[in-house]
Subunit: 225 residues, 2 copies
């Protein structure tokens, strides 16, 4: 119900302002976007921002809260709460890790959501006045810890420290394509969004990389030249 209340606030002109502002914030940074830029692109008066949000900073935090909700990856916690999982089965562990990577590639890079959702979310780790907001502590750190816990269970021979590195590997591999998107697209001669076939290859690349690293790769592949 708290969720329903939250979602109600994300409707109408208020939502339009969040979507417009968020996209601009993601591309140009909060300080690179003026309220007049937002108002013009959204087709509303400059006073609308202060009418709906009180201040630019409030709007800023709202855009962050919004995208953090949109791209959240709940699979990790769902796995941790499922006590029927047999982590002794390598097949099970493989599927779990495949799922973790897939969810993030899907939420961060595919056209399930606009790219600027994840781009703005990543900015919250970096840039004032976004960073150090509660939304970071309520999303990034818990999800990171959950990710480490799942990896620890799937690869018990690895220390918790090692699993932290693997968690950062998953996040880093994917995040790079988000935050460095403009440069990467130039390097790859892409004008539109990442093609689905490209994302499919990337997803398989990351899954294979993690599975090999955690010694969970199917044996047949280990020995083939």
């Amino acid at each position: 119900m708290e969720i329903e209340e939250t979602k109600q606030e994300w409707s109408g002109k208020r939502l339009e302002l969040i979507e417009t502002a968020g996209q601009l914030f993601a591309d140009f940074g909060v300080n690179g976007v003026s309220i007049r830029d937002i108002a013009e692109k959204c087709g509303v008066n400059v006073a609308a921002v202060n009418y709906y949000f009180g201040s630019k900073e409030n709007l800023c935090m709202e855009t962050l809260r919004y995208v953090a909700w949109q791209v959240r990856c709940p699979l990790t916690k769902k796995i941790l709460e499922d006590h029927t999982i047999d982590y002794n089965s390598k097949d099970v562990c493989r599927e779990i890790i495949k799922g973790l990577v897939e969810e993030r590639v899907q939420n961060y890079l595919s056209d399930k959501y606009p790219m600027w959702y994840s781009k703005l979310f990543l900015r919250s780790l970096v840039e004032p006045p976004l960073r150090f907001e509660n939304v970071v502590f309520q999303n990034f750190i818990p999800e990171l810890n959950a990710l480490v816990e799942v990896l620890s269970r799937c690869a018990p021979r690895n220390s918790r420290e090692k699993c932290m590195f693997w968690a950062f590997s998953i996040l880093g591999e994917i995040s790079f394509y988000v935050f460095a998107e403009p440069g990467i697209k130039i390097a790859l001669n892409l004008t539109e969004k990442y093609p689905p076939a490209f994302l499919q290859q990337l997803q398989e690349h990351i899954i294979s990389l993690i599975l090999k690293g955690l010694e969970l790769k199917e044996e047949k592949n280990l020995y083939e030249s």
Copy 2:
């Protein structure tokens, strides 16, 4: 000699301004820093920026040119120009890849350079008015292509497309610790810079991850439980 001329411009009050402005740009974004901020922190008059650089935008490009020079990774090209290398030797290939990763961990994350050098350099891939400057095309893309070429030679069984993914893996794994530094340090309870022991572990993690992925890992490790 062109280099010498360039270096001469990086001295005195001019260099102090570049260093001061660059650090602020890296942390707060170009639009998040005013000329008065820079002047105050640098202990000079507000007119100094326009006296030495003509405009804020010129100063901005100069800071970028400066850090791109500082953190450049010339090892890749040096390898490509060395025609005595035997890429049939797995030992040689292993050492090459170790070197490539080490150079980047050293230049981007260690205390060889201030962290904001690499942070600002990464911003050039993302954020106007830094992005799409010539320095990106003259550094990021050539180094990326060189990296792909070296990986192709070391792992000839992988397609060029695959090697591109591996190159992005190396860059992504390391870059994540640069651009997401504030969030990561909170997650890891770090107040200072990344400890040398941590970077050593990270470096070994990435090298191992890439070598396993490219099937270059020493056989003894492949079979040990």
